[in-house]
């Protein structure tokens, strides 16, 4: 699947001299909402483009992206969707490893 929107937002941010955080699914195990390569770009104001899987772990990754924008460290985040977090069974039941990095022009 092409990631035009994400690459467009990335180019546009860099041209304005703004940094972004990019979260990319590096690996999946079991049943996950999105597959390897899925991307979410997070801007310093917290807005984002693209998705790595909606409710399933996205909020957690968004927070890591905001942290990466702050400290500049690349990190690998493991999102475990096999445990029901709110008492409800999630549709997805796998594990995703997501690479989160800060990028700037």
């Amino acid at each position: 699947m092409p990631h035009d929107e994400v690459y467009e937002a990335m180019s546009e941010s860099f041209e304005r001299g703004a940094p972004i955080a990019l979260a990319t699914v590096a690996q999946t195990l079991g049943s996950t909402p999105r597959k390897t390569g899925a991307k979410m770009l997070v801007k310093p104001d917290g807005s984002f483009v693209g998705t790595i899987g909606g409710g399933c772990g996205e909020a957690e990754v968004w927070q890591e992206a905001m942290d990466a924008l702050d400290d500049g460290d690349a990190r690998m985040v493991t999102v475990d969707l096999t445990e029901p977090v709110d008492g409800e069974d999630k549709i997805c039941g796998g594990i995703m490893r997501i690479f989160v990095e800060r990028l700037e022009a």
Partner: protein, 278 residues
């Protein structure tokens, strides 16, 4: 070294216009390995942009990435710091040091060229649009080649099959489905597109009819290797009956060609795993 802006622009160009590029990102490394996390390199068919630190590892990644371009795959692969592939979970876990590289093929949406705007063409185009393909539909009959007939985004071309197909740009990212009103038209269409390096050419018809078409074209002197690659009769054997079901069967075959796969119910693999090895 290429900066992030150049890389971002190159990725955007690749996604919108092509040519395809393999985008390589260092996603992980064992402690102590001298490589920078997040380093990016774009590998084109005949050049590179950016680097991941040089050496044997970089060369191995370039070779691997370049070979991945025609496969349209996205995957994270482990290498040793000296550039050997490490495959399988056990090997990865027991390796002294590994570097993980995500290789993604970035390219424009695939084109689905549907020859014939009848019931099957209509359904094939609809499913292709749903799958994110750029759909083009050709027919020489105004009733079957007008925008109103296709309630989805498609480029509708009304004109002579031979002339229109000759002008239509075909690349390895073009998937062609021949479902016109008769095998004479399909034969003409196949003659025009067979040798042009499409990612997929499939032609509808019975075994007997399609064999006759292939024979005619072989006798005319078309490249036997190109004719051999034509998927005909078209589609996966799922017992499809209706135009919509046939569309599922055809697009299933296209996904199979594009992404690779075993074309079996997943449960079959489960059974194979469950059955004791002999």
């Amino acid at each position: 070294m290429a900066n992030a802006t150049e890389i971002a622009r190159a990725l955007l160009t690749a996604a919108r216009e092509g040519p395809a590029v393999a985008s390589c990102t260092v996603m992980g490394a064992t402690d102590g390995v001298d490589i920078s996390l997040g380093a990016k390199m774009l590998v084109y068919a005949d050049s590179e942009l950016g680097d991941i630190g040089g050496g044997a590892l970089e060369q191995a990644v370039i070779d691997f990435a370049r070979a991945s371009i025609p496969k349209h795959i996205v995957q994270t692969t482990a290498f040793t710091p000296s550039g050997d592939l490490v495959e399988g979970r056990r090997a990865i876990e027991s390796a002294d040091a590994i570097v993980e590289i995500l290789v993604e093929i970035v390219e424009p949406a695939a084109t689905l060229l549907v020859v014939g705007g009848g019931h099957v063409g209509l359904a094939v185009g609809q499913l292709g649009a749903m799958l994110g393909m750029e759909v083009a539909i050709i027919d020489d009959r105004q009733d079957y080649a007008n925008e109103d007939r296709f309630p989805y985004e498609a480029k509708v071309i009304c004109g002579d099959f031979g002339e229109e197909l000759e002008q239509f740009p075909i690349t390895a990212n073009t998937f062609i489905v021949l479902v016109s009103r008769g095998h004479k038209v399909d034969e003409l269409a196949l003659r025009t597109v067979a040798e042009r390096g499409a990612g997929y050419v499939g032609m509808i018809g019975s075994k007997r009819r399609t064999r006759t078409v292939l024979q005619h074209l072989a006798e005319e002197g078309l490249d036997p290797e190109a004719l051999d690659k034509v998927f005909t009769p078209i589609g996966l054997d799922i017992g499809a009956e209706t135009p919509e079901e046939i569309a599922v069967s055809v697009l299933g075959e296209i996904i199979l060609v594009r992404r690779g796969g075993g074309a079996q119910p997943m449960s079959e693999y489960g059974r194979l795993l469950a059955s004791p090895r002999r």
